[in-house]
């Protein structure tokens, strides 16, 4: 089991990555690895957010599409695409992102609540917002991300 940090104060490291133009961040303790392993086997009749399954050193792991999860249309593959492998609540899955950025160390005191003008999907997934000098990072709650993807599937099934 991953050590999931439940504290609301203290310093946490965040992996930041892109979804379209916006910058998102995820608690680094949920991130197993980041790679360019983008060879997928597509899963027919699967939920739209499932991009396919991949071979992660002998394990078969599901790849989810971040854009679809955020309510955006799928984008064409680019050279910047990365596979973010997450482990959350015992489930290992990949997240297809539009490129990765830095790792930020953020003090929870500096996190401000998500703005109220976010869309419904976003407001569920976004735990808060952190502001650097020139950028805004939306911090994603991984458990919500997993739950949202699974409910989507249950609803579709």
């Amino acid at each position: 089991m991953t050590k999931e940090k439940k504290t609301t104060s203290g310093v946490v490291q965040y992996t930041t990555f892109y979804c379209d133009q916006s910058l998102l961040g995820l608690d680094i303790s949920f991130v197993q690895e980041i790679n360019r392993n983008l060879d997928l086997t597509r899963v027919p009749l699967g939920h739209p957010c499932v991009r396919g399954v991949m071979n992660l050193r002998g394990e078969v792991v599901t790849m989810l599409d971040l854009r679809t999860l955020m309510g955006l249309p799928k984008s064409p593959n680019t050279i910047r695409n990365r596979n973010l492998v997450l482990k959350c609540e015992g489930e290992t899955f990949g997240l297809w992102v539009d490129g990765v950025a830095d790792i930020l160390t953020i003090d929870s005191q500096d996190i401000t609540p998500a703005p109220s003008n976010l869309s419904l999907v976003e407001s569920r997934l976004i735990r808060g917002v952190y502001q650097t000098e020139n950028k805004l990072v939306m911090l994603v709650e991984p458990r919500e991300l997993l739950a949202a993807s699974l409910t989507g599937i249950r609803a579709a099934a």
């Binding site: 060879d39 086997t41 899963v43 027919p44 699967g46 071979n55 078969v60 599901t62 699974l150």
Partner: protein, 900 residues
């Protein structure tokens, strides 16, 4: 009290393993009787003693008390103060069962009342079971005691048995040669079971999920573990070599390292598999008790011989085989072994023997359950299957004995009540078969009437690796387990239209005369959009899939290799897709999805297709009845195909080639006490002889001139409804009225009468009434038939008997002929379906004209329904005859002409 969970857990695991052995040992003690084996008793004693000791230490007072009582009795046996008779062992077995259920539910064990067990054991220890009972004939006791046992029926075994007996469906019993009389005990139970102690329910439940805590653990040989450790070390070493070679960019050593990694990995895989292997004895060990209890209840005497306890199989298989094997063993006792008096009457030992054997064969594990009981009668099985509507009488007559025996595995063969048994145990042979097939195994049955039956099970060694076929579709690769593939069919582009048809919108494959629902993988899974359908290959690769009751064709793009694949679990997001059974990683690292054969069928609502296929077949039959002939296709030499109208065929027999005798220049088949003359195609017409001698042949039996004749058909191809477009010139010779092309084969239609006449002219001599008539007085027959082929054929047949024939190409033509030459016509033979004027109109016209109103009319049809016949009679037709049966037609002609 239970502070130390780990200690408790250890106690459970250890006690379970002790208690698991106790049962078998007690039975051995019982078998030895007064001849007490001190070592054996000691072993049991030690086992119970350590349970008692640990329980006392952990404060499990109830377990401790019960173990203590049991120990007392054992101690007396050990000191030869007590002789272990059946009643005593019964009591001990029940106590041991109770102990087991206490241990399984250790947390609640202290609140369970075991006083009934303790009292009983105390009574034995105090010798208060009377002397006579203790020293008497043990066998007699088993029977006397059964009432007592029913009252005290506390453990799940007995409950199960009662359930089984209630459910004993009369079905198998009815078909077993010597049906066992109704089970006596349950019906004659002296009184309704006494109010059971409060523990009973609980113990029954816990028994069902017995030894759960121990199940999650596997005992592994330390030597095996050491080997694993060694291999892991080797693997690390090889990895280091690989990494350094890669970082140095060295190419030379790489091959060596690769082969080393390869070797170590496969060895590692094998060794890890071995840790999952368990001796099959772990399930066999429960059967002595099952046989003992059940045979006592049924008043039978059975001994069980077990061989191959040490044979190892994958843990999953060992666990999954428990229920099917239990069912088979119970069946052997219940339906197989006869009652002692019956056995004595048949000259057998009163004691029946059941043998349970496990052994390795050809990389698989085989299990055989044999009994020397009454066996099964194939004829009765067939009769029952026909009665249940599982097969038709025709199918039954073509079945071999082996096939008939296999009927017991057919779904629906046993009554529905057994399948939906509330006990949840897979009762019913079809469930046994399904369970075994799910494990990738097979099951077969042999039986000899009055000598016994044997069930033969073959299982794979492991489930983690399954042989599969890799197929390709729309650029993706998928795996399908070999076990569900019945056959592969390739339909070349040229045959696509003939082989693949559409029935009510659903595609079907014509396969040897049957219509098989067809599923296109790409449309079932939405792999291609409609625009992309043009990318489909021009020819079709079809896998005929079979699981349980379902059978269908799956059309894919390409067939790749067979591979042994390792099944990997799928993540939560895709697990719920019904058509998927898992995924695997192929040699090149590509993830291939494993298709679930049943799931795909459900995805496409295949059941509906199947029923609509059936409907449509009958619709089609009705619609085409007038134009189409049902032909039996067979081959003598594989390059030459022949056809016979089904209307002529009385039946088809499968025979052994060795049963054909040659007497003089005749082939004879000795058959049902008579000899059947046999014809060979190559004797009468120019045809190639069969290319190889086959062990089994088919014989097409038909009636000619009041006798049965058989035609040898080495290879049966199909029974097909075919539109007759015959070429009656090119290949014409006596016996061959015409030919057509079917499935790319030039197919010659055979006229059986002509064939027989060519070979045995003597058979037809007695028919010679026609010869007595002077040629000029021969009757003239008007023949109206629009098909040249049939007209020529019938005309030739009539003329060969000396009749004069006037041909007409349709009803109108015939009507015109008739009006000019009606005086000369003695008989009208007409087809029904004809252009311009059909047969019915012609008949009406003939009847309306005074001069011809008495002219006899025979109608020729291919297949006439009763409705058609009624309409025909109304129109004035005297008789209906089937087109391709010249012998009957000639009979009718003779009869009609004799009347006038």
């Amino acid at each position: 009290m239970f502070q130390d969970d780990e200690l408790i857990h250890e106690f459970v695991v250890e006690s379970s393993s002790h208690l698991a052995e106790v049962e078998g040992q007690l039975l051995q003690i019982e078998a030895a009787g007064a001849d007490i084996d001190a070592n054996l008793v000691n072993t049991v004693f030690r086992g119970i003693h350590s349970v008692k000791g640990a329980a006392g230490f952990l404060g499990l007072t109830v377990v401790n008390a019960l173990a203590h009582s049991l120990e007392n009795v054992l101690n007396m046996i050990r000191n030869r103060e007590l002789i272990p008779t059946s009643p005593i062992v019964n009591a001990m077995l029940r106590a041991a069962d109770q102990l087991r259920s206490l241990v399984d539910n250790v947390a609640s064990s202290n609140s369970v009342d075991v006083s009934s067990f303790v009292d009983e054991l105390e009574a034995i220890a105090n010798g208060s079971l009377s002397e006579a009972e203790v020293v008497g004939d043990p066998h007699q006791h088993a029977i006397e005691n059964s009432g007592f046992e029913t009252e005290l029926a506390t453990d799940s075994y007995i409950n199960d048995d009662v359930a089984l007996l209630k459910d004993c469906d009369p079905a198998p019993e009815a078909v077993v040669a010597e049906p066992a009389p109704p089970p006596p005990i349950t019906k004659k139970a002296p009184s309704p079971p006494v109010e059971k102690p409060s523990m009973n329910q609980q113990s029954g439940n816990s028994q069902a999920k017995q030894a759960r805590p121990a199940d999650a653990f596997v005992r592994v040989n330390v030597a095996l573990l050491d080997r694993l450790m060694n291999l892991a070390g080797e693997l690390v070493l090889s990895r280091n070599q690989l990494l350094s070679a890669v970082s140095l960019g060295a190419k030379e050593g790489l091959e060596n390292i690769a082969s080393r990694v390869d070797q170590v990995t496969s060895e590692l895989q094998e060794t890890i598999m071995q840790t999952r292997m368990q001796p099959i004895g772990t399930i066999f060990s429960r059967f002595p008790r099952v046989v003992r209890d059940l045979s006592a209840k049924l008043g039978k005497e059975c001994s069980l011989e077990i061989e191959g306890n040490e044979v190892e199989v994958d843990k999953t298989i060992v666990e999954a085989m428990g229920d099917p094997l239990t069912h088979l063993v119970r069946n052997s006792v219940d339906h197989g072994i006869e009652r002692p008096e019956q056995r004595a009457a048949n000259g057998k030992l009163a004691m029946g023997t059941i043998r349970l054997r496990a052994f390795h064969q050809a990389g698989k594990v085989c299990i055989r359950i044999e009994d020397d009981g009454g066996g099964m009668d194939p004829a009765k099985l067939k009769a029952k299957a026909v009665e249940k509507g599982l097969i038709t009488g025709e199918q039954a007559s073509m079945m071999t004995d082996g096939e008939a025996l296999r009927l017991i595995f057919a779904p629906g063969f046993s009554t529905a009540a057994t399948v939906t048994d509330v006990s949840g145990r897979g009762v019913g042979m079809d469930v046994v078969r399904t369970n075994i097939e799910q494990l990738g195994g097979t099951v077969d049955i042999e039986s000899t009437l009055k000598q016994g039956s044997a069930v033969h099970i073959t299982l794979p060694l492991t489930l983690a690796i399954i042989p599969s076929m890799i197929i390709g579709c729309a650029g993706e690769r998928y795996a399908i387990p070999q076990s569900s593939i019945a056959e592969l069919v390739r339909v070349p582009q040229a045959d696509m239209e003939a082989k693949i048809g559409r029935v009510k919108g659903a595609e079907v494959l014509r396969l040897r005369g049957a219509l098989l629902p067809l599923v296109r993988l790409d449309s079932a899974l939405g792999l291609r959009t409609v625009d992309e359908y043009s990318e489909r290959p021009k020819s079709a690769n079809i896998l005929v899939l079979e699981t349980g009751q379902m059978r269908y064709g799956l059309l894919v793009d390409t067939l790749h290799d067979n591979e042994e694949i390792v099944v990997k679990p799928l993540g939560k997001h895709v697990k719920e897709l019904g058509y998927l059974a898992g995924a695997t990683i192929l040699g090149d690292g590509y993830v291939a999805l494993i298709l679930d054969v049943v799931g795909i069928a459900m995805q496409c609502n295949l059941r509906n297709i199947e029923s609509s296929v059936k409907d449509a077949i009958s619709d089609e039959d009705a619609a085409r009845a007038e134009e189409v002939h049902r032909l039996l296709l067979f081959a003598n030499h594989s390059t030459e195909q022949f056809a016979i109208p089904m209307a002529m065929v009385a039946r088809i027999e499968r025979i052994k080639a060795s049963d054909v005798r040659v007497v003089g220049n005749q082939n004879l088949l000795i058959y049902r006490g008579n000899s059947l003359p046999l014809l060979r195609v190559e004797e009468s017409i120019s045809a190639l002889p069969p290319e190889e001698s086959l062990a089994n042949l088919f014989v097409i039996v038909f009636r000619i001139a009041d006798r049965e004749v058989g035609l040898i058909a080495p290879i049966l191809r199909d029974i097909r409804d075919i539109q007759m477009k015959m070429d009656s010139k090119t290949l014409r010779e006596p016996g061959v009225p015409g030919a057509t092309v079917i499935d790319g084969y030039t197919t010659r239609l055979l006229d059986l009468v002509e064939l027989a006449r060519a070979r045995h002219p003597d058979w037809f001599v007695s028919e010679g009434i026609v010869e007595a008539v002077e040629p000029e007085e021969m009757p003239t027959i008007l023949l109206a038939e629009d098909s040249d082929f049939f007209r020529n054929h019938v005309q030739r047949t009539l003329e060969s008997d000396g009749y004069k024939v006037v041909g007409a190409v349709d009803g109108q033509d015939a009507w015109e002929h008739l009006q000019t030459i009606f005086d000369d016509i003695d008989l009208l033979i007409t087809d029904i379906e004809m252009p311009r004027m059909n047969g019915l109109e012609l008949a009406k016209a003939v009847r309306s004209l005074a001069a011809t109103s008495n002219l006899p009319i025979i109608a020729l049809t291919s297949l006439a329904s009763e409705d058609d016949q009624a309409r025909g009679t109304q129109a004035g037709i005297d008789e209906y005859q089937v087109k391709m049966d010249p012998a009957r037609l000639m009979d009718a002609v003779r009869r009609m002409l004799a009347k006038t």
